[in-house]
């Protein structure tokens, strides 16, 4: 009964979405506010019904109701309870419902926050939210129904179980955060379109969405970083970013979204870049839907993608609809988006922001081109020409370094024009520190890429520290505060500015972590008990190879002792070779999986993978990697999020 109720809830939610659109149009012509309030309530009702349907599917997953095809496909009796719940987003149908669920939370929050506010924009915001919700409701109702019954004429006693790669704690958090990031862009997009339709194209919509955009951007950043963390911990190739199409699909809206959160500052402060901001948010949201198309259409082969389905054309059609209708509205309102202010000098802070935006968009286009190239060549020539990491690294690295440079230059530039006096006042210290770092690194013997990244990082950090120092000095001089008090007060009273700088520090630290990739080392050995291998000044010896049977898998566990060059013990590593569904009578359904063990320090990670086991000879085949500075990537990510949280923290308004 309840699975059927889940399906009915989705039917009714679709009806609510359609009626809310009709109500708003009716309200537009009739001016009867009852219709507007009804539209609000229809959106809220739709959100509640989607929430109910999600709750029903989650309950059926936990209760192992194999009468539902989705439950039978993605869980089994042996699947641990927490992974039964995470199976909600493991497959196509469930993840579409989960997408809708998060969109419902966002849409519901927008409606509740704006019940009596933003009355010029809100009716059209409701329309956009309902259109997007309606699209996903059509998919879950008619194309990928998560409540579809099992197509079997016998009772299904057990399910297929969850992919072992997804049975990881990070996987319980990574997709929800990524979705929170992806889907959240619906809200600024809805406000932008509402501004275009209503003609209220001033800065009101920007002020309404600034916080939303930052929240969304933060979740997308967390999602991307957690995805890298998961790949590093789980996939066994020793890296965190592979330029996989689905990784790129999340990176592209992040790039345009980052450009957007910078360029709205210019609109707020200088009333400029109004059209550009519209273009950026339209592109960002379209890239979100396009990314979903890449993941779900089956056009790309990726570790992340869902199997081929009929959803591809629908998503592609929706992307074209969004782009065509949005740009048509933009063209209609183009004259009202023109600004009287102009950029007065190439050396102004405004120019710095524009350069930053251009680089982000060019970078996005480069990633888009590299991602789509195999699809385009297959469509045109009939053969798929794959573009691998070397292409991306070659194109992206110089653009990313230019962006890193601008991260340091931006805070030093003056609004309207940076005079010679300002230049000599602001730039010498960061330039000196950057050059000193470069000279020291060249003397030590590092290669050009490391010298470039590290010296630019030093320049940026110096520029940011200088900004903090100047701000603290002002407070100290004016108010007589101590340095620590002035730091705290300065940050708490200018959260947006200094939170942003802290996020930039996080980015710089991540860049330093990326340079470690140039020094990765690896070796592969087949070792028997007592045998040893050597790599990067470490001795790795196999102490023992044991076995264990656990509820949902069988495991071979290698105990590897790691000693340094002086014979001092560094750590013991315990990588495992697992076979999931080992009790399944059909050998084809048993799934092997390597569970890694990593010894992580600030300087380097020692990364171990048990690739295979020869039980007859007792040989453990292993891969060992030495990955320098990886921890900086994660620490940088944490600082980035911390800085964003500071920017987001609500301020206490002064009277």
């Amino acid at each position: 009964m309840t699975p059927v109720a889940g399906g009915y809830a989705l039917n009714l939610a679709l009806g609510f979405s359609l009626f809310s659109i009709i109500s708003v149009f009716w309200f537009h012509y009739n001016k009867d506010a009852r219709l507007y309030f009804t539209a609000q309530r229809l959106v809220l009702g739709s959100c509640l019904l989607v929430g109910f349907a999600t709750f029903v599917l989650a309950a059926e997953l936990i209760n192992s109701n194999f009468d539902i095809d989705y439950v039978a496909h993605y869980t089994s009796l042996e699947t641990p309870a927490v992974y039964k719940l995470t199976a909600l987003w493991a497959g196509q149908e469930g993840s579409l419902l989960f997408w809708l669920f998060i969109l419902s939370i966002y849409a519901g929050t927008v409606v509740i926050q704006n019940q009596r506010r933003n009355v010029n924009l809100m009716p059209w915001v409701l329309v956009v939210l309902s259109v997007v919700m309606g699209f996903f409701l059509v998919l879950t109702n008619f194309v990928a129904n998560p409540f579809a019954p099992t197509d079997a004429d016998f009772q299904v006693m057990n399910g297929n179980g969850l992919n072992p790669l997804l049975q990881n704690a990070t996987m319980a958090i990574h997709p929800p955060t990524l979705y929170l990031g992806y889907i959240g862009f619906t809200v600024p997009f809805a406000f932008a379109i509402a501004a275009l339709i209503s003609g209220d194209t001033g800065s009101l919509w920007i002020r309404s969405v600034r916080r939303w955009t930052l929240v969304t951007w933060m979740f997308l950043s967390i999602g991307i970083i957690l995805g890298g963390w998961w790949a590093y911990q789980e996939l066994g190739w020793g890296g965190y970013w592979a330029w996989d199409p689905v990784e790129n699909a999340s990176f592209m809206p992040w790039l345009t979204g980052t450009a957007f959160i910078h360029s709205i500052l210019i609109q707020e402060k200088r009333d400029m870049l109004k059209t550009w901001n519209m273009v950026l948010i339209i592109l960002t949201f379209s890239l979100v839907i396009f990314g979903t198309f890449l993941t779900r259409s089956g056009v790309m082969s990726s570790v992340h993608s869902f199997s081929a389905s009929s959803l591809g054309p629908l998503f592609l059609g929706f992307v074209f609809f969004l782009l065509a209708s949005s740009f048509a509205l933009l063209a209609w309102r183009y004259s009202s988006l023109k600004s009287d202010s102009k950029i007065q000098s190439i050396s102004s802070r405004e120019s710095g922001f524009v350069f930053n935006n251009v680089l982000f968009v060019v970078l996005c286009f480069a990633v888009f081109w590299g991602t789509m190239f195999p699809v385009l060549t297959e469509a045109v020539q009939g053969t798929k020409i794959t573009v691998g990491p070397p292409f991306f690294n070659q194109i992206v690295t110089p653009l990313a370094l230019a962006l890193l440079l601008l991260t340091g230059v931006g805070p030093l530039l003056v609004w309207r024009k940076t005079s010679k006096t300002s230049f000599y006042k602001n730039f010498p210290i960061p330039i000196f520190i950057g050059l000193t770092a470069a000279i020291v690194l060249i003397i030590i013997g590092f290669g050009s890429s490391v010298v470039m990244t590290a010296s630019l990082s030093a320049f940026v950090l110096a520029a940011i520290m200088l900004e903090f120092g100047k701000g603290m000095q002002i407070r100290k001089t004016k108010l007589g505060e101590t340095y620590s008090a002035s730091l705290m007060h300065m940050i708490s009273r200018n959260r947006s500015r200094y939170g942003g700088y802290i996020a930039h520090v996080g980015i710089v630290i991540m860049f330093l972590g990326f340079t470690g990739k140039a020094f990765d080392q690896e070796a592969e050995w087949g070792l028997r008990k007592g045998e040893e291998g050597h790599l990067a000044g470490y001795r790795f010896s196999l102490v023992q190879l044991s076995e264990a049977e656990r509820p949902n898998h069988y495991a071979w566990i290698a105990e590897i002792s790691v000693e340094d060059i002086g014979g001092e013990k560094v750590t013991s590593l315990h990588p495992e070779k697992r076979v999931y569904f080992h009790n399944n009578p059909n050998p084809d359904r048993r799934q092997p999986h390597s569970e890694l063990d990593i010894h992580s320090t600030f300087r380097r990670d020692i990364y171990s993978v048990l690739s295979a086991v020869d039980t007859e000879s007792g040989t453990a085949f292993m891969k060992i990697m030495i990955n320098p500075l990886v921890r900086l990537v994660w620490i940088g990510g944490i600082i980035l999020v911390f800085g964003t949280l500071i920017s987001l923290w609500p301020r206490k308004e002064a009277n």
Partner: protein, 90 residues
């Protein structure tokens, strides 16, 4: 039976909730002209924030002296106008 009642309730509640405004008398929403007390207070806070930011940026050497004086004067004038409007409302 109980499940059916619960489910009917689950589906009936959103429907009643959604159509309820239509059962009352016709309403009109005053358009947001930006002159309501809430709107004016929001604008005042925004202007205060802009003045504080301008002062900080001037202190950091990011806004030239002549522009700082002009902008500050302009913002202060806007605050005075808004405070006057708030006073009239109250």
């Amino acid at each position: 039976m109980l499940t059916t009642i619960v489910l009917l309730f689950v589906f009936a509640v959103p429907v009643i909730f959604a159509v309820q405004p239509m059962l009352g008398p016709r309403l009109t929403i005053p358009q947001d002209t930006g002159r309501s007390p809430e709107s004016l207070k929001r604008k005042k806070q925004l202007l205060y924030r802009q003045i504080k930011e301008l002062e900080l940026e001037h202190g950091l050497g990011l806004v030239p002296e002549n522009e700082f004086n002009t902008l500050r004067q302009e913002l202060k004038k806007q605050v005075s106008e808004i405070m006057e409007a708030i006073r009239k409302h109250s």
